[in-house]
């Protein structure tokens, strides 16, 4: 399995969830676990460019695929990815727990729809729960990310 462009050995525990594998075996703790039953979206990562809930996939199922986590969007010392930058500018995060999941969902959304309609934005973020922001600033952040991507 490739994670953020780096090859990793196959997971040894066949019962290990992808979310736990990323967090506890690979130390990529940016992927958060909020419900472990596929509703909150905090654990969203990209599997071959599509957003998926890493708590609903076994790590071994990701073998042979490319996984991108929040840590893979911008290397240390590099500028933030446009979606991350947009969340910053629009106050799209408060406690930051749901944020990696939202950012990955939006990265996936904009890969599919570089100029999304309001309906597509609504659908793109409607699989993630946030208890802090009330979503308004997240909607603003998606619009801002579209602008930043143009530049």
């Amino acid at each position: 399995m490739k994670v953020n462009g780096v090859d990793h050995p196959a997971p040894t525990d066949v019962r290990r969830l992808l979310s736990d594998h990323l967090r506890h075996d690979l130390g990529l703790t940016g992927t958060h676990v909020g419900c472990e039953h596929g509703v909150c979206g905090c654990c969203t990562v990209l599997l071959d460019d599509a957003p998926v809930r890493s708590c609903l996939i076994l790590a071994v199922q990701a073998e042979g695929h490319d996984v991108t986590t929040i840590e893979g969007l911008a290397r240390d010392g590099e500028a933030l990815h446009p979606v991350q930058q947009a969340f910053h500018e629009c106050h799209g995060l408060q406690c930051g727990f749901c944020t990696p999941g939202f950012v990955m969902s939006v990265v996936g959304l904009l890969a599919q729809h570089p100029k999304p309609t309001d309906e597509q934005i609504e659908e793109g973020i409607a699989g993630n729960l946030c208890r802090c922001t009330g979503y308004a600033s997240i909607r603003r952040a998606v619009h801002r990310a579209v602008e930043l991507n143009k530049k």
Partner: protein, 777 residues
Amino acid sequence: MTTRWFGAPVQRVEDDRLLRGHGRFTDDIDEGALECCFVRSPYAHARIASIDVTAAREMPGVVAVYTAGDLPFGEVDLPLLIPHPNLTHGRTQKCLASQIVRYAGEAVAFVVAHSRAEAEDAAEMVEVEYDPLPVVITPEAGERAEHLVHDDVPGNVAAEMEQEVGDVTAALSVAPHRMKFRLRYERGAASPMEGRAVWARWDQRERRLTVYDSTQSPTSIRGGLAVLFGLPESDVEVIAPDVGGGFGPKIMLFYPDELLVPFAAMQLGKPVKWTEDRQEHFTAVNQERGQVHEVEFGFDDEGRVLAIDDDFIHDAGAYTPYGIILPIITAAQLPGPYRVPAYRVRFRDVYTNATPTSPYRGAGRPHACFVMERVLDKISEVTGIDRVEVRERNLIQPDEFPYNVGVAWQDGNTVVYDSGDYPRLLDRALEMLGPRPEGDNIGRGVAVYVEGTGVGPYEGAHVQVLVSGKVVAATGIPNQGQAHSTVWAQIVADQLGVDVKDVEITSGDTRRFPWGVGTFASRGAVTAGNAMHVAASMVATKAKQVAADQLEADPQDLELVDGRVRVKGSPDRGIPLGAVAVLSNPVRYAFGGGTEAATQFTAKARPGAPLAVGEQPGLEATGYYSPEGSTWASGCHAAYVRVDPKTFRLEILRYVVVHDCGRVINPLVLQGQIEGGVAQGIGGAFYERLAYDADGQLRNASFMEFLIPYATEIPPIEIDHFETPSPLNPLGVKGAGEAGVIPVGAVLASAIEEALHVPITEMPQSPLKLYEALSHS
């Protein structure tokens, strides 16, 4: 001095690491920690006949299995946090139940293993025999007291309190109109996206206990652990790292894990970690909002309130660890921004076999607001006077401050509103709301509210200028998303004349600041904010004194600008703040960082000892702020909603908020607090309901069935702010954290009632409830 940062929409300095996935939440900390799992009672009320952990102890990977008998504090009742004379029958649970369980989810045994999976497998093997007892699950059943939750608490009544302002009986007897109705608010759940978690390490050689806890009060946790384990407080350090939302339940302490995880770490000599799963969060973490009000009120033909007589039951749950703060707040806040010439309020805090209650964002206020606004709508209905007009006629006027409501507040004082302009809030909200949209089944809701914020006793802050010129500052209260690293930095930066990015904040880490209380009750900005202001002002004063010698100027003629202390009017005559920090500490040995300037042969000579009597080294100060009374924020929410007459789907067509929390530190952050609060209010008013069955089982303990709104349920919210400064504190600020939530239930109740012409007497509403109400009407 000119304020540059205070009031500006400064983008958050804490965002970068959170956005890169470099946040540090408690479960992110590992260091080879053992992991844990609780055995929790499946019964809401039962006698424990036996507990057998033999098989569990033999399971693979198991390190320890604890029951009450294995704990030196197993027979000790957990602390009753806020005792009160009226709380005559306060009861708290034991860390692990060994005789009786009183709610489903109460902890019975605790398993420690090498992995969470092994701990869970072993927990399955703990055999507990229960003899079920009759279950008391609703507040009404609690009051009927056909069965007792605690054998030694007659009538299930933990506390009873009655207060009266004016002569209610007389006022009611002469009132032209007199009515009575019954209103009900059900339990809700805060549901932060991060559940609770605790990580602990005991360093045997240093005899030092380190605990990471997703708590809203690390200072209190530290105090309690020091008492429990007989350690000096200085040997216990408690850190609330990044906390993934709090909203109230994380101010509760001690949850059993907060004692068991450190205890196990000390026993086993290894780091130990426990991370809650979502299902157990639903029953093991405190809830709130269950109340039943019988309210009688008198009013005249002009729609003026003459008297309110409210009698309510508060659902305590199985224990009262947080005392009776919630019903006290409800009783205090019920009149809200309205004049109530005669007011009597009586409550009984009753035990039920459900998870204990303690504050959840709003804390007693949404229910109070709901009752008052329902009363005003009823007055409008009877008199035929428009709902808005009724409110206008009853609002407290701007020239009436300070306004004494005359009832007890949660800090022991009497409720006195410090400042505000309530009629202006209402006018502006209606102006923003605009004309009624075209269409059928549309209703308008309006509610005006106050919020007691900034409750004491105190918070403190430490501010230090480093020899590099950078500033570090710390306070005891932790951050759960409220942008402390940014807003405290704004306050400090203004005092020290530095850039906000040059101020690094630590919050909620007792290693850096061991005193204080916690983040709750919309109090951070008032208490810690003013403490930051006080401490930073002290540092600024000291900087001027130290620099005065060097610049041969009077301290009064100096100012702190752009990272320098300089002479007013002569900006070239100045020295960098870092150099002042060097000079503030007379050293013998130059250890780098420019400190040679402060050694004995290079520093400018001054008479007497290098440190004068009472003078302290270092460009630093510790300051405290302790409010005499609460600051009272206020606001008005108004909405148009459409309810589909067939599916009862709720469509919020427009939602406006006008809010006044005194001086605004950071409008960007404030907007986020309001928007998030309203969303949580909408969830609590229409989507989220804790569905307990008659056996005390929570039937919807998952996000599949407890429906927290997604973006699709939350409309855009239009917000405007007024700033009526609080006269009570140096910064003129009031709290804002809970404001967004408070009136949402009242607004939606009013709007739905108008849209469907069906009386709304309880919250939360739902399509099913509306369908049933319409079928019966």
